[in-house]
Amino acid sequence: MNSIISDIRETARQLLADGKVDVVIGYEKGSLPLKATPCFVRSPQDADKLIWDETCENNLAAFATKTAGKKAIVAKGCDSRALVVLMQENQLVKDDLYVIGVSCQGVIDKKKIEAETGEILEAIIAEGKLSVKGIACDKEFNFIDVKDATCQTCRYPNPVIEDIHIGGSVEVPQQTVAFADVIEMENRTDSERQAYFQEQMKKCIRCYACRNACPMCYCSECFVDCNSPKWLTGGVDRAENLLFQAGRVLHLAGRCVDCGACSRACPQGVDIRALNRKLTKDVSEMYHHEAGISEEVKPALNVYSADDPEAFLVKE
């Protein structure tokens, strides 16, 4: 067991024993190889369930708003950014929250591995390498090659807020070109982009795993569930699926912390993040805003600025 795990456990144990929190939200080992699962620790003796590794892929901030009482949350950089946005949007009270910050090396994209090995039977992660026994074949991977796409462009591996920091920090990678993936998409022709997103939307089964895995999707009634008026039928066709995704993305403009939880949750492998990233880039360029990187910076859509790109808003 590495020291990060033992420190997380010890912190959780102390917080619960001292009555500082009612629950610690972290990760425990999942039932499938390379899969961690969220867990809710309520007694000091249960703290030994907690783990930390490259399989801790869920954004635990999604549980923060749903879990009653004072809670401690094991938070990666992206989880902490989500917590900041949730506090800015008055969904969380700081006094009820204890952030156990852990710097993150990135999480594993299981789909990438399974595309080569078939269903994963066993896997060992050690020193930047993964030895995977698959139903089709066995293979060794470099972690860097099977890191989730989100983590490959992540600039916030270290928590932006925390009450305690566990382990060391991770050096922030310098990007040669910011939003290279979005620029690549922007450079495609309209018909190429349309074809790409039609292909993606064809896969969507409207299970709403993306929406429900997202910490920012906390509306008590989502527009797709509203039946008076009824915006969507609930059916699955490319147009409806795209309308759902486009509606969600627009709602996340300036709020998305680019954690990739939506894409990882999708059982159908829809590239949801491609839409979110475009909005993230647009908000970054137009409003010079990145969601959740500081408690002091006001959300993009909550501020007035004389630099607003919409000229009619700043007319004297």
Binding site: G30, S31, L32, K35, A36, T37, P38, C39, F40, N58, A62, F63, T67, G118, E119, L121, I135, E199, K203, I205, R206, C207, Y208, A209, R211, N212, A213, D225, N227, K230, T233, G234, G235, V236, D237, R264, A265, C266, P267, Q268, G269
Partner: protein, 338 residues
């Protein structure tokens, strides 16, 4: 009896003249059932499809009827259009799943014409599983990786040929069109025996789950079981036996359609009444319903557990809420005497 895959392929291609054939193919999203025109398109070595074939009998979005107001009259049009279909390459879990869906859509009072029009026009060609996924637990659910139950014809893949078993009258009619059926060699018979003896290694104990659940309506277990669930419907939509649906109207001016769409018990909207009251307002109650429906109510109503052990819900769950652990949890839950 067996048939070479080459000869089988010829018969398969010939069937496309009379039948729409749905078979597993490899697409951008793994293996899924789709319309095929040629046997060469069919994916042979697959564990199971990503999504179950239930949507070919019970589509996710289905027009039930359309209507139009003309003067004082309302013209109603039945939208059901069904042709003869072959579902090829169906795994034993999914074939059993269809038998369970049959029980849902037909009871003493009502037979669903939309489902049964498709069902009656469908021939199921099942194929035994030569490889078993670690998430498969069909053997615990009274099925097996080589069970022919629910198939009209059942095949065992022997590499270059299939062992063929005509299970039902429907299957016998199709089997009669297969040419050059020959006897198995001794080695092939041994291969068949090995496949037939295989069981899933992952096991769950459902021996007493139905009666146990009957005592657990008010149990603290539901509070903890559901906690990490994010309430999506990835499990229901990838389940071969989940069948809950919603019926709604899509109206524009003087015309409209009545549609049926899949729904799922994890969604709060699922049980929301017009009054605003929601009898399953808490997620705990929704997870209780999921377990109760599959392992208690369905057994009471239809005599079977509504789970076939395909493992898709385990694979598709974003938070790894594993139904096998949920079942173990029920088994281990302490009984509370009220």
């Amino acid at each position: 009896m067996k048939i070479s895959k080459e000869k089988f392929g010829q018969s398969f291609d010939a069937l496309t003249a009379d039948y729409q054939i749905i078979a597993p193919i490899a697409d951008v999203n793994g293996v899924n059932y789709q319309v095929v025109k040629n046997f060469s398109e069919v994916k042979q070595d697959y564990l199971n499809s990503k999504l179950p074939p239930k949507s070919f009998l019970f589509p996710q979005h289905e027009k039930l009827l359309s209507y139009k107001k003309e003067g004082k009259d309302v013209i109603v049009k039945n939208e059901l259009k069904v042709g003869k279909t072959v579902l090829f390459g169906i795994r034993p879990c999914d074939a059993k799943g269809m038998l369970l869906l049959d029980k849902v859509f037909k009871n003493d009072a009502y037979t669903d014409p939309y489902y049964f029009e498709r069902r009656d026009n469908t021939v199921v060609i099942g194929v035994a599983c030569n490889k078993i996924a670690p998430t498969c637990f069909c053997s615990s659910m009274g099925i097996s990786p080589s069970s022919s139950e629910g198939s009209d014809i059942f095949l065992i893949d022997l590499g270059d040929s299939y062992q063929v078993e005509a299970v039902t009258e429907k299957g016998k009619a199709i089997a009669a069109s297969l040419v050059e059926l020959v006897e198995l060699t001794t080695e092939e018979q041994a291969q068949v025996d090995t496949i037939k003896n295989a069981q899933t290694t992952s096991k769950v104990d459902v021996a007493t789950i139905t009666s146990k659940l009957g005592t657990m309506f008010n149990h603290a277990y539901w509070d903890t079981l559901q906690e990490k669930c994010i309430g999506c419907n990835a499990c229901s939509f990838s389940c071969p036996t989940c069948h809950c649906f919603d019926i709604s109207e899509e109206v524009r001016k003087n015309e409209g359609t009545r549609v049926r769409t899949w729904d799922g018990c994890m969604s709060p909207l699922f049980t929301l009444h017009g009054s605003g009251h929601n009898p399953r307002n808490k997620h705990e109650a929704r997870w209780r319903q999921r377990m109760m429906h599959k392992f208690n109510y369905f057994v009471q109503n239809n005599g079977d557990i509504a789970c076939v052990g395909c493992g898709r819900c385990i694979k598709s769950c974003p938070v790894n809420l594993d139904i096998r652990q949920a079942i173990d949890g029920v088994n281990k839950a302490e009984l509370v005497v009220e």
